[in-house]
Every structure is written in C-alpha cells, then in structure tokens.
C-alpha cells in the first residue's frame, strides 16, 4: 500500500537543540502539508507545498521553524532552536491537486512525536 512515511516517529531533545523531521509523500502526489497536533490547539496547519513550491506558511513561527521540499520525494520541517512549547505530534500529509479545483483527500503519515525538555 502507498503511504506517507515520516521519520523519526519519536524524538526527545533538549531545549535549544535543532530538530529535523522528514516526510516522504506518496509517489505522484503534488501537495504536501505539515500539521501540528496538541491537546490544547488541535490540528494546526504549519505549511504546505504544491509542486514543491511553498504556498502558505502563515501558520508557522518564522523565527525558529522552516519547511522545505528539496525534491519531490522529501519534505522537511526544521526547528532551530527548539523550545518546550514545541512539544507536539507533527503530521505530514500528501495529496493531489490539479489546481483547477480538484479536492482530493489527504493521506497522513503516522506522525513524529516531539518532546522538548
């Protein structure tokens, strides 16, 4: 079965350290989304890409977060420096959009659970 792959599944780090989370979208999908899930805020959209171009990262703290797609098979979300309030589960999701209104569903990875001490 095609699936979105995220690594690492779990990460414990200390405040101030750099954290990089990786996502391999489903082959053929051209949109990638990064969401953060916490008990208090629910699912927050951090950034998304279409055809590897960043389209909206307004939900992402710009001073410490960055998201990139070096190629079609890899999306990264980096936090530098990390803070305890960044502790959450980070989800990557991919889908296909034709750009003319196609509204395909998203396929989510299993998430990366980040704990910043």
């Amino acid at each position: 079965d095609a699936r979105v792959t995220q690594t690492p599944r779990h990460k414990v780090t200390e405040m101030g350290q750099e954290v990089t989370m990786r996502c391999q979208p489903i082959l053929g999908h051209n949109t990638v989304f990064w969401y953060r899930q916490t008990m208090m805020q629910g699912l927050e959209l951090l950034a998304y890409f279409r055809n590897r171009a960043p389209l909206d990262d307004s939900g992402m703290p710009k001073d410490r977060f960055s998201a990139e797609m070096p190629d079609a098979t890899l999306a990264t979300l980096k936090i530098q420096p990390s803070e305890p309030r960044d502790s959450a589960v980070y989800f990557c999701a991919s889908g296909y959009s034709s750009g003319t209104g196609n509204a395909g569903e998203l396929f989510f990875g299993e998430g990366s659970r980040l704990t910043v001490l």
Binding site: L43, A103, L106
Partner: protein
C-alpha cells in the same frame, strides 16, 4: 472567516445504536467537506468526502454523512455503532488560501466512545 466547528468534545453511544457526530462549517464558495478518523498514536485516515451531487455521502466502515447547505452542516452518521468505532473524528473543509490556492481546515475533533 473560513472555519469548521465540531460542537461536541465527546459523544458516547451504546454499541448497536445509531451515532451522529456533528460538524458545521463556514467557507466562501462551494464547500468541499471531509471526515477523517484518528486511532490512538496513528495518523488521520480518510473516511469520506462531499464535493457535489447527492447530499448523502457513503464512506468507509459503514459511515455516511449528510450535507445540508441551508444549515451549513455535514454530520457524520452510522446506523449501528461498533466498539471498534471508538476514536477521534475530525471534520475538515477545503478553503481558499491567501496564496490563491486552497488549504484544508480541520475542526477540533470529537472523541467517540462506543460502550459495549
């Protein structure tokens, strides 16, 4: 403003009884609506979507949802609940983005608990 509301944090239902998980939305233009389910320590899984056409949409695992344009609602339903349906359910809407394309906005989630 584009938004999705799930008014119930938790829904409890007895096994075998019908279940309803509520969702209302606010979006400009024609709404594209989705339901997802999340099991513990897992990612979200797609259940069903409404794009156009019949207001009653059927999806995975016996779930269905009814689109009601006048009430701006998209409630998730199942005629007979199973204990294994216990999970966190998210409603989502596709909304225009500031970049001129679209993004998906999720509700806060409703925890469904099916009691044996």
């Amino acid at each position: 403003a584009q938004s999705v509301a799930q008014p119930e944090d938790q829904v409890n239902v007895a096994e075998g009884n019908p279940l309803t998980v509520k969702c209302t939305y606010s979006v400009s233009g024609n709404p594209y609506l989705f339901w997802y389910v999340q099991y513990p320590n897992r990612g979200l899984q797609f259940l069903l979507k409404y794009i156009t056409g019949d207001n009653l949409v059927k999806g995975s695992y016996g779930f269905e949802a009814e689109f009601n344009k006048s009430q701006t609602s998209f409630h998730l339903k199942k005629p007979s609940a199973l204990v294994s349906d216990s999970a966190l359910y998210f409603c989502a809407v596709r909304a225009p983005s500031t970049s001129g394309t679209y993004k998906y906005i999720f509700g806060t989630g409703t925890r469904l608990k099916v009691l044996a």
